[in-house]
Symmetry: C2
Subunit: 423 residues, 2 copies
């Protein structure tokens, strides 16, 4: 029986009852003979409440102080969880990100983990404790300041600790039963996936699946840490993400893993870019220097008459303003004509390892969209994914059409269980 890292999200520890239920599940794991490390997020809406307070005192909260503020949320939940476990007669100790040895760079609000030195966690485990660790936070290597890891930070904390402690599995407890072939709120017949490879999961995450975030899966893949995504309410087997199928369940690997969609992005088109070497690099350097992650990039064929081309890319809506500002600043240096901004777009992606060995997949995908009357604006492909950008209004219809066309619909007419408590 090895070491298990479990991560519980904010909805699992939203109140005292939730904390007590989670404490019981942790103790059960310990009773099974495992060493247990638990990563916990802030309770329910705590983080939103803290952000709201910050906005009341300052319209533009400062990075360092904002991180100091937000990390209070995990400090509360982890201490309460440790107390609840001790109340069940087991030893537990809680640790801040800093105490757990989560060392990051100094980019406040979205720091990256650069090292994990879990000496205190190891000691706590050796002394028979369950170790509770604050998710989402670390300490900067150079300034010893408190940092936060940004979106999906708690999942990443869990996987990073699992890697540093050589855990046998990292269990991500959430309020859904696992990863589905599509978002069950959009596709009623979506099925839970029993097993999915790291590569397909990465593509799903990059394409809008919210269950696991890209950076967490990437970390797990690099260190080969199996992830088990499961419900903290039902206790059922969820979805295993790994190199090899794990667990007792029978695994049937579908060619197509699932359909993801994303309406959180916007599209920027840089109009009238001189078609010469270095132009695209200049554009994306300007955006990258502002720490903005871009997604799809498409460059039109240059018009021979003008020697000018257009370059479009998608990026999170929240970063749209900043990207436009950065590009505007670099306008004369880059030498483009104008910028267009469109935040009414949606993205649909089909993900599956078998895609490149099945040449009909791309054709079937476009046919399904066409039959559903969905117009395509941008296309991007990888070895195991096809993504298209459409109008935001068309996204749900497009996802359902593709899900059905690729035989992913559940045979049963019963609604898929989404969330154990009807949340």
């Amino acid at each position: 029986m090895g070491l298990v890292v479990q991560k519980y999200g904010g909805s699992s520890v939203a109140d005292a009852e939730g904390i007590k239920r989670v404490a019981k599940r942790i103790v059960d794991t310990k009773k099974d003979g495992h060493q247990v490390v638990v990563v916990v997020s802030a309770m329910g809406d705590t983080t939103d409440e803290l952000i709201d307070l910050a906005e009341q005192v300052s319209p533009i909260p400062a990075g360092r102080e904002f991180d100091m503020l937000l990390t209070a949320g995990e400090r509360i939940s982890m201490a309460l969880l440790a107390m609840a476990i001790k109340n069940l007669g087991h030893e537990a100790q809680s640790f801040t990100g800093s105490q757990a040895g989560v060392i990051t760079d100094s980019v406040h609000n979205k720091a990256r983990i650069i090292d994990v030195t879990p000496g205190r966690i190891r000691t706590a485990l050796d002394e028979g404790n369950i170790a509770i660790v604050a998710g989402f936070q670390g300490v900067s290597q150079d300034k010893k300041d408190i940092t936060t890891l940004g979106r999906g930070g708690s999942d990443t904390t869990a996987v990073a600790l699992a890697a540093a402690l050589d855990a046998e599995v990292c269990e991500i407890y959430t309020d859904v039963d696992g990863v589905f072939t599509a978002d069950p709120r959009v596709v009623k017949k979506a099925k839970k996936i029993d097993w999915i490879s790291f590569e397909d999961m990465l593509e799903l995450a990059a394409s809008g699946s919210k269950v696991l975030l890209h950076r967490c899966v990437e970390y797990a893949r690099r260190y080969n840490i199996p992830i088990h995504v499961r419900s903290s309410f039902s206790g059922l087997q969820g979805t295993w993400v790994s190199n090899e199928p794990q667990g007792a369940q029978k695994v049937e690997q579908a060619i197509i893993s699932g359909v993801a969609h994303d309406t959180s992005e916007a599209k920027i088109t840089v109009v009238g870019v001189p078609d010469k070497p270095g132009e695209a690099a200049a554009i994306f350097r300007a955006v990258a220097d502002a720490e903005i992650n871009i997604d799809m990039i498409v460059q039109n064929v240059s018009a021979a008459s003008t020697g000018l081309t257009d370059i479009s890319f998608t990026l999170p809506k929240a970063e749209g303003r900043k990207a436009l500002d950065e590009l505007e600043k670099a306008k004369s240096a880059i030498g483009f004509d104008s910028l267009r901004y469109d935040d009414q777009i949606g993205k649909i992606s089909l993900v599956g390892a078998g895609m490149k060995t099945n040449p009909g997949v791309t054709a079937d995908f476009f046919k399904a969209l066409s039959d559903a009357g969905v117009n395509i604006e941008l296309i991007s492909t990888s070895e195991i994914r096809i993504s298209v950008v459409t109008r935001a209004d068309d996204v749900n219809e497009a996802v359902r059409a593709v899900h059905t066309a690729f035989g992913l619909d559940s045979d049963s007419d019963e609604a898929v269980v989404y969330g154990g408590t009807g949340r």
Copy 2:
């Protein structure tokens, strides 16, 4: 212009408006040319809400985890305060107790400061920052665990930092205008004291005055740090506590500083103690080992016929159960007959440096109580204080009688301003 340490309590930073008002006051101090270090408590009811959550998950919260939980409150308020200051165009950085170098022993929930190493604070000040420090918390020297300092911890943090940084004054901002000759809720004619010596303030604090706690005054006296207790609402001159009168105001040192009262204590009587050497030591060793602070101690004259005596002492009501348990455990070793517990007592104390040179003070004190029909149960005196224990019901009447008898009543018929916002 030297360095000023300011401490703001929870009621001063109860909401976003309060935080912004405090930020403005801090910036004004900085603009006057001072270096400013601010110690802040948790917002309003935050600590009570966290305690409530803890009680929901575990009836007996564990020391280490309880400290981890409670310290989240200051982390929130200090980060918000730093943001609010930055929003006013001044640089500010917040620091946890650990980051500020507040080193304590390992007694969770009421740790003692054993060293202050404010290197990071000094650096922040040298770089032009206002330093915001979490009150009430530190880090244990041996285990590097988060600790809390217990009651009055934030005031003590402020004084300890003032001493370590060689500040010219430690300003304690609160919701009253200063230290009064008696509790203005009980004595309408109580007067604000302009200046009081460390010694008299120590006696007032030990006797139930809530404005400053004993440990904080003791720390300030040891390092000769002048304390200025003042309102965060009115901005008026408050009460200076120091060796020498400070500030611009004219000081008239009264013989009697004030009347304090306390109804938070209980009385334990150990009945039938053998009257031989070592008995009292054994009793108070048992209590001290449980980290219980006792206050007044009175031993009756031994009855010659039995060789037995009774020993009474007072202690905080909250510690009553624990003290009784400890004494019961040591019953056969000590050899007493029984224990009596009484939590319906009150204590009235008269404090003043001139007391020993005015032999009539004690007589006048007892006469005032007698005229008010108040029965005395225990008496204890020091060079600058007389305290008596009475029934709790008699306390308010006794305080008013003594306040009038010693000429402390304000000449004006106007009500004393108590709290700047009517809180």
